[in-house]
């Protein structure tokens, strides 16, 4: 068997055996097979495979086959052999000749070939790349062993009763159901951290997981080991398992990383393992986790001691393996029983909304987010589909036009004695060659695009490479289009009546052409319709993106600069860090060109925390969320931002940790929860997050000391409730000195950095930038998306124009005789252009009208779909689809008309410029 296995693959050697028939042929095959084994032994199977394929494809092989077939070896058997092989060789020979002829012909008609190949390449390549990237990022299959036995468990959220997350004690309760589950593991959502390794400080993502995480999911590490139960205890030194991608990209893929100590959020952590290859995070999506840490370290590293306590909104995800023989309904039943127990034991915390058990395979990331992801997937599929449809109709139009234009050539060939079969075969080979060239170019384009996307520093993993199923599908579709539309004119053309076609100088032959024209009209109209849909859909999306980009944050970004430091990595405790930050601020405020300086946790406009709130005088409606974000702000914060104070006072140096906690709130919050713009002196409490105690028991109480106008923390155009807390009453280890400059803020960056260096050279500086620079960078991903969509829109429009141009040019060239006569008889140029454009203009009018109507339907349909998903997603603002906007519709209509008319006008204009003589020559 082993000797057999070393031979070349069956499917390749079969080709050679078909080529070389008979005893002598078999000798050649064996000679090459023997050489294959030699190459394989010397190099590798892959090299041998490539070598063997090369042998099959090389012309000398085919020449040899031909020589051997025509070699009269003598004897009856050998003659029989020769005759047996002759027909197949002849067919091959003909196809080869047709291919060469078609290649020459396509090369000569490069004005047709080049755009056709380009359109196909873009249709196939761009689509495949885009689909592959999103597909690997969102819809990759579960990498777990026996994934169908894994379930995700969610405690339902108090306000809405929908699946959300679990508290750690609830996870422990679930793990007690050993009769239902063979194993139960928990992990948090990926959380942002900062880590310090040799290369300096960088942002990373950490998950806190239980010690049985690997065993429950059936995963194997790349290297090292997972943490054990002893290491997952509050007293143990913190250990970490690196994500495979972090190991490769951030730690140089070296095995020395094991045993190395790195700092995560300032805490020393020992690396003990490297995660499985191709496994990016617990959410098996494109999200990338850099570190897996023991759950117990969520207090020390994450600084969130209450995460391990029983709360209403826990952030642990639970994945369990069903015991053999246990079904999903049985597991659900057990968890419902647990939910009832929890509700009766902890009535203050547990809302009694139950526990959901879902198959892991049915969850993409989280039930709350999946709806949004699916909406995004649908949006993408619509664009990709429309683009592919445009590419295919385009190709069809061109082939059709070309087929009609070649009536004369076909007639000549028929007259010279070519059979109908030969002509059909020739045209078929030509369209297959064209589709093949387009496919090959598309493949390279897709490869190139996906590499480019992988090079971008995106927060998602798109390393899955090309999806060959999609590539195959798009390729097959274009091949089918090529063959179908290459064949249709071939069949029509070969039915022509020879004499009129030869006589007419390539003019329309009545019956066949009219049919072709009707089909061509349909194709032109469909192209216009599809381009309209694409443009409207993308135009609307781009407008909504632009709207979010030009958002007013409530303060001017100009003239602001910051220096961000993290004292945890330099070993400072909170008080020392606070004192140091204050000294940095003082020195920076003394720099020339600095008008004022303040302290905050990170640069604006981002928020620093969020919590559900409890108000004495405000009773939220059923399922109403009172969630609001906060920002840590030092004295002079509002002066630096240039935000005026509406009521009360701002923070001062007297707001210290030992004094009552205070807050400045924005106007929206004041009006919504206190019913008045002047809410000074009123109080509210945090439910969870930093400073809270367990569960639903209200935590820190804050007194409102001032009200400011609406300040936004995101590009969401709607102003949301937001409050500011005194920086001096926070944890203060991460500090940002924010300055308002009287000079160009960029000139202050170096002096500010120098101030920090002078005070403590070891204090890690995270960033020194102007605020507008940092906001621009944070919008980079959106801009990239906008650019991508814009490029796709332009691509669609460009393709439609090319198609249209081809059709009109053709129609005009068919009427060159008529134009000649008209011009000779003294018709005005404008009149002739109008006559020529009229027919096309009608088609365009029909196309644009239908296109806009269809676009409206698609937009309506997608917004209905998205709003239903929105409801399913528990009020998460999906913002994934556009809304109908008359301006965009009008713009698209104008653009389409302008472009289409240009595509009509130029060929017509050119025809009239050719002069009457040129046209009359055709008479």
């Amino acid at each position: 068997m082993s000797a057999l296995r070393r031979g070349p693959p069956q499917y390749l050697s079969a080709v050679l055996r078909w080529l070389f028939q008979g005893a002598r042929g078999a000798e050649v095959c064996e000679e090459l097979e023997h050489e294959y084994t030699v190459v394989r032994e010397r190099h590798s199977g892959l090299v041998a495979w490539v070598w063997y394929l090369g042998q099959i494809l090389r012309p000398s092989t085919w020449l040899l086959a031909h020589e051997m077939r025509t070699h009269a070896f003598g004897g009856v058997e050998k003659t029989k052999e020769k005759r047996r092989g002759a027909w197949s060789f002849m067919l091959l020979d003909h196809i080869w000749r047709d291919t060469r002829y078609a290649a020459r012909r396509l090369g000569r008609d490069w004005r047709f070939t080049l755009p056709a190949v380009l359109v196909l390449a873009l249709g196939i390549g761009a689509n495949t790349a885009m689909f592959s990237a999103v597909n690997t990022a969102l819809f990759r299959p579960l990498p777990f062993e026996d994934a169908d036995r894994l379930v995700n468990i969610y405690q339902n959220r108090s306000e809405t009763g929908q699946d959300f997350g679990n508290s750690y004690p609830a996870y422990q309760d679930m793990a007690g159901y050993t009769d239902v589950f063979a194993g139960v593991a928990a992990f948090t959502v990926p959380m942002p951290v900062r880590y310090q390794a040799d290369a300096g400080i960088g942002p990373g993502v950490a998950e806190y997981a239980t010690s049985n995480y690997l065993a429950v999911q059936g995963l194997d590490l790349q290297m090292g080991r997972w943490f054990n139960a002893e290491e997952d205890s509050p007293d143990a030194a913190v250990v970490a398992v690196l994500g495979h991608q972090a190991w490769t990209n951030k730690f140089g893929a070296t095995p020395d990383v094991l045993g190395q100590t790195i700092r995560i959020d300032g805490v020393p952590v020992t690396v003990i393992g490297v995660g499985p290859k191709g496994y990016s995070s617990s959410f098996h999506s494109g999200l990338v986790t850099d570190f897996w840490l023991p759950t117990s370290s969520v207090a020390t590293v994450g600084g969130q001691a209450d995460e391990l306590e029983r709360t209403a909104d826990g952030s642990f995800m639970v994945r369990a393996r069903l015991r053999d023989g246990v079904t999903l309904p049985q597991a659900q039943q057990a968890m419902t029983a647990l939910a009832a127990i929890l509700a009766s034991e902890y009535p203050d915390i547990d809302p009694g909304t139950g526990i959901s058990v879902l198959r892991s395979e049915e969850v993409l990331i989280h039930p709350q987010l999946d709806a949004m992801l699916r909406a995004a997937g649908w949006f993408l599929m619509i664009i990709v589909g429309v683009l592919l449809a445009i590419a295919c109709t385009n190709l069809a139009t061109w082939l059709l036009v070309r087929g009609l234009a070649r009536n004369k050539e076909v007639s000549v060939r028929l007259a010279l004695g070519a059979t109908r079969g030969q002509i059909v075969r020739h045209l078929l080979v030509e369209s297959t060659l064209l589709a093949g060239a387009g496919g090959a170019a598309g493949y390279f384009l897709a490869e190139w695009t996906i590499r480019l996307v992988a090079l971008m520093d995106l927060p998602i993993d798109v390393s899955g490479g090309l999806d060959y199923r999609v590539l195959g599908f798009t390729l097959a579709l274009s091949l089918l289009t090529g063959v179908a539309f290459g064949l249709a004119p071939a069949l029509t053309a070969t039915r022509v009546n020879l004499s009129p076609a030869l006589r007419a100088g390539g003019d329309d032959t009545l019956h066949s052409s009219r049919r072709g024209f009707n089909l061509k009209n349909v194709l032109v109209v469909s192209q216009v319709v599809l381009s309209c849909v694409l443009l409207v859909y993308e135009g609307l999306y781009l407008r909504s993106l632009a709207a979010t980009q030009s958002v007013d944050f409530g303060f001017s970004l100009e003239g602001l600069a910051f220096v961000e430091t993290d004292a945890r990595f330099a070993g400072y405790d909170t008080d020392e860090a606070a004192a140091l930050s204050e000294r940095v601020r003082e020195r920076i405020s003394a720099l020339p060109g600095v008008e004022s300086a303040t302290l905050t946790a990170s640069p604006p406009p981002g928020a620093h925390g969020g919590s559900e709130l409890v108000f004495d005088a405000y009773e939220p409606a059923d399922r109403e969320s009172t969630y609001a974000q906060w920002v840590w702000a030092g004295p002079d914060y509002f002066d630096v931002l240039g935000v005026p104070l509406l009521h009360g006072r701002t923070f001062t140096d007297f707001d210290r940790p030992e004094t009552p906690s205070v807050a400045v709130i924005n106007e929206s919050m004041a009006r919504r929860y206190f019913g008045t713009p002047n809410a000074v002196g009123r109080r509210f409490r945090l439910v969870d997050g930093a400073g809270s105690s367990a569960g639903g028991v209200p935590g820190t109480e804050l007194e409102v000391i001032g009200v400011v106008p609406d300040v936004r923390t995101s590009s969401d155009p709607q102003a949301l409730p937001l409050f500011f807390r005194s920086y001096h009453q926070g944890q203060r280890t991460m500090s940002t000195v924010l300055v308002r400059a009287t000079v160009d803020p960029a000139t202050l960056l170096q002096p500010m950095l120098q101030v920090v260096r002078n005070l403590d050279d070891a204090l890690p500086v995270i960033a020194t930038k102007t605020v507008s620079q940092s906001v621009t960078e944070s919008l980079g991903a959106r801009r990239a998306l906008g650019g991508l969509l814009g490029a796709l829109g332009a691509l669609g429009l460009g393709m439609a124009c090319l198609g249209l141009y081809a059709v009109v040019s053709f129609a005009v060239s068919r009427r060159s005789r008529e134009i000649g006569i008209r011009m000779t008889l003294g018709a005005r140029q404008t009149r002739v252009i109008w006559v020529l454009s009229k027919g096309v203009a009608k088609l365009l009018a029909v196309g644009v009208t239908l296109g806009l109507a269809l676009s409206w339907l698609v937009v309506r349909g997608s917004s209905v779909l998205i709003s239903s998903l929105d409801q399913a997603a528990d009020g998460v603002n999906l913002n994934a689809g556009p809304t109908a906007d008359p301006t965009t519709f009008a713009l698209v209509m104008l653009l389409m008309c302008a472009v289409d008319l240009a595509a009509t006008f130029f060929p017509a204009w050119r025809a009239t410029r050719a002069g009457p003589l040129a046209a009359v020559r055709h008479l």
């Binding site: 031979g7 064996e30 000679e31 020449l63 040899l64 020589e67």
Partner: protein, 102 residues
């Protein structure tokens, strides 16, 4: 009958190899001695054409240890082949006479 360049070196390789003159060995001989890199298929094409012209003929060679399938085809020069080679050498020699490299 005049011989092509490749035909001539292929026939010389057949003559040099004697009983071992099969496809791959001839290809190797051309590579190492004549310093000409050709594929085994090209060698075969040349030999088949020479066989058609009656300058070489072929028989099945002896079976080899460790090689699967049938025995290799071994080529040898026919008397006409020897004579063609001889003619080619003589004509080349005559052409060289009186040639002086400047």
């Amino acid at each position: 009958m005049s011989l092509g360049d490749l035909q001539q070196v292929a026939m010389l390789a057949v003559a040099r190899l004697g009983a071992n003159a099969y496809g791959a060995a001839i290809r190797d001989e051309l590579l190492h001695v004549a310093e000409r890199k050709v594929s085994v298929q090209t060698v075969w094409v040349t030999l088949v054409r020479l066989e058609k012209q009656g300058l070489v003929d072929s028989t099945e060679g002896p079976r080899e240890e460790g090689r699967r399938g049938r025995a290799r085809r071994v080529f040898r020069l026919t008397p006409a082949g020897w004579s063609a080679l001889d003619t080619a050498r003589a004509s080349t020699a005559r052409m060289w006479e009186g040639v002086v490299q400047p």
